[in-house]
Homo-oligomer: 341 residues x 2
């Protein structure tokens, strides 16, 4: 196995193609780029030569002369988390992978590292930037940079920036309205860390929906705690003690919901017959593995990524927006919230 054979010669350049086709470099360029004023036979000859050499234009050179790289940076702080990935995928397919490539940088929650990555991305002359925060709360703007920026998931603290976020308040209302529609009236809310704006927004939406129905939250207040199953279990036990007749629980995350389900089963309550449960996140592995499978709210992050890419494209074309844009969530109905007979 000759190492030389495994690494073929350097890629062909336009000059090689031109030489082989017996034309000048500029003619070859026009021929391959569908430019007018090229004889058909010449065009064919150039194409043939390009094919033969498996020519593929050097995007560095293209970018250098065109002043655009066809590259966008994605600056995240939540790579191991599951939120930036769908955003990334949405962005990827909205841009079209043939036109734009994504340079990924993970700051891992470190502001210094973020600055560092930011510089690196700008040095690479990305055409635009998507900033995905680690948690759905207001985060510091990266400041003024020479390219358009869109914030996704976590909004920027600078109202002059454009931020795209999930509409958590509306989502909380949706969850409760669904429970009401399935015939529930004593609805509790067990959720996670109250320092998360998303937790408070979801709770606010839920409370508003209850109020519109002339109802109060079972237990009086939301049960704030941690984003864990363990918290879900203990909070649900407390909720059952406080309001034994509770007939539905809206959980702030799917993990919390799993804990809620466990506690209900241990207390001898049937789901969904006695108590309905709605989760949040539509985390596939969690929501479909549970018994029963979990009705939950999908943040539609991939859609959020697509919109981010569209807004970024628009901004790169000079059509920039500002402010915070809230995107809708979607309720995914499974077994845990079947209507009451």
């Amino acid at each position: 196995m000759d190492p030389q054979a495994r690494q073929p010669a350097a890629a062909a350049t336009l000059r090689d193609v031109a030489r082989l086709a017996g034309v000048s470099v500029s003619t070859a360029s026009k021929a391959l780029n569908e430019r007018p004023h090229v004889r058909a036979s010449t065009r064919e000859a150039v194409r043939a030569a390009a094919d033969q050499l498996s020519f593929s234009p050097n995007s560095l050179a293209q970018g250098l002369s065109a002043q655009r790289t066809g590259t966008v940076g994605l600056l995240t702080s939540d790579l191991e988390g599951r939120f930036s990935i769908p955003v990334l995928m949405g962005a990827e397919d909205a841009f079209g992978s043939d036109r734009v490539a994504v340079l990924l940088c993970d700051a891992r929650g470190d502001a210094i590292r973020e600055q560092h990555h930011l510089r690196a991305l700008l040095a690479r002359r990305v055409d635009g930037l998507i900033v995905v925060g680690a948690r759905p709360d207001v985060r510091p703007s990266i400041g003024r940079v020479p390219v358009p920026v869109v914030y996704a998931y976590a909004p920027s603290d600078d109202p002059g920036d454009l931020s795209l976020v999930s509409d958590n308040e509306r989502a909380g209302a949706m969850a409760v309205e669904h429970l009401l529609a399935s015939g529930r009236r004593r609805i509790g809310h067990v959720t996670g860390d109250p320092t998360y704006g998303a937790a408070r927004d979801r709770a606010a939406g839920a409370l508003a929906a209850l109020e519109r129905a002339g109802l109060e939250l079972a237990g009086g207040e939301p049960f704030y705690g941690a984003w864990s199953e363990e918290w879900g279990r203990s909070a649900q036990r407390a909720l059952l003690r406080a309001v034994p007749e509770v007939d539905a629980v809206f959980a702030g995350s799917d993990q919390v919901a799993r804990g809620v389900l466990d506690a209900l089963r241990e207390a001898g309550r049937r789901v969904p017959e006695d108590v309905a449960v709605v989760g949040f996140d539509n985390w596939e592995a969690i929501a479909t593995g549970s018994r029963p499978s979990l009705t939950t709210v999908d943040l539609q992050l991939q859609h959020l990524g697509r919109v981010a890419a569209q807004r970024l494209s628009a901004a790169m074309s000079g059509d920039a927006r500002q402010g915070v844009e809230r995107l809708p969530c979607r309720l995914v109905v499974r077994a845990s919230s079947a209507p009451r007979d």
Copy 2:
């Protein structure tokens, strides 16, 4: 909010810096690049000018003349999955984010799209390529490309390629040896899809370890099925029927292990007192949310990513390897496998 103000003028070039410092472009270049034969005062003047203009060299131009882009491509098929992300993170910090940036492409399991992305990455003249498969099985080589390639997670079918994979067989043995050390003797194996090479490798390692101890697998055969909690529950019920005296279960994934735990609890068995359980994957949310928390095998994918980056760097320096390199896994001991008194 003047849009002009939000998008400052185009980035400064070396020419701007040189002009401001009152020197030639080449002198400015030498000054900034720590080259010799530059008077200290000149160097300082250039640096000051660069600072003032927030100069940052255009990597496109650098790459064009240096024939290297400082960019590697990561071609994955498993973005939404949780396997390529740790690999990516490991690669990122092994390269050093200041030296190399990662271009991410997700083929989403489509061979056509993979070819497409491959071309795009090569057009961008990446210095190297990491290919992360969708599942831990042999996959088609991407063939001969003009840059070094390392396969991670899923090995290439071409022995001339370099592949880095987890040592699943050794990991299966580790799991069983741990159970034996904790005083268990009737050990069953509930695992997932038998078309996964990793499932068979883990089972083989487990069987070999049992044989070395002069024992047989409880139930005779591994319980193959699906990578789901549901399968874990039903398989464990079957295992209990077949071998009521089973005192340990090695599960092929953490999800399967969760199902096993559920079935055991329903059957009135205490974990770890009556039956010990070991999972696989160290999927944080699954393994620490369970009751009790799950002893499990960590694939150390981030380490795998780091090694991939090292091998790629070596190959870019002309020092290429071939074949399949198996990297060790690590047992993470939690509550579900506490030793027997």
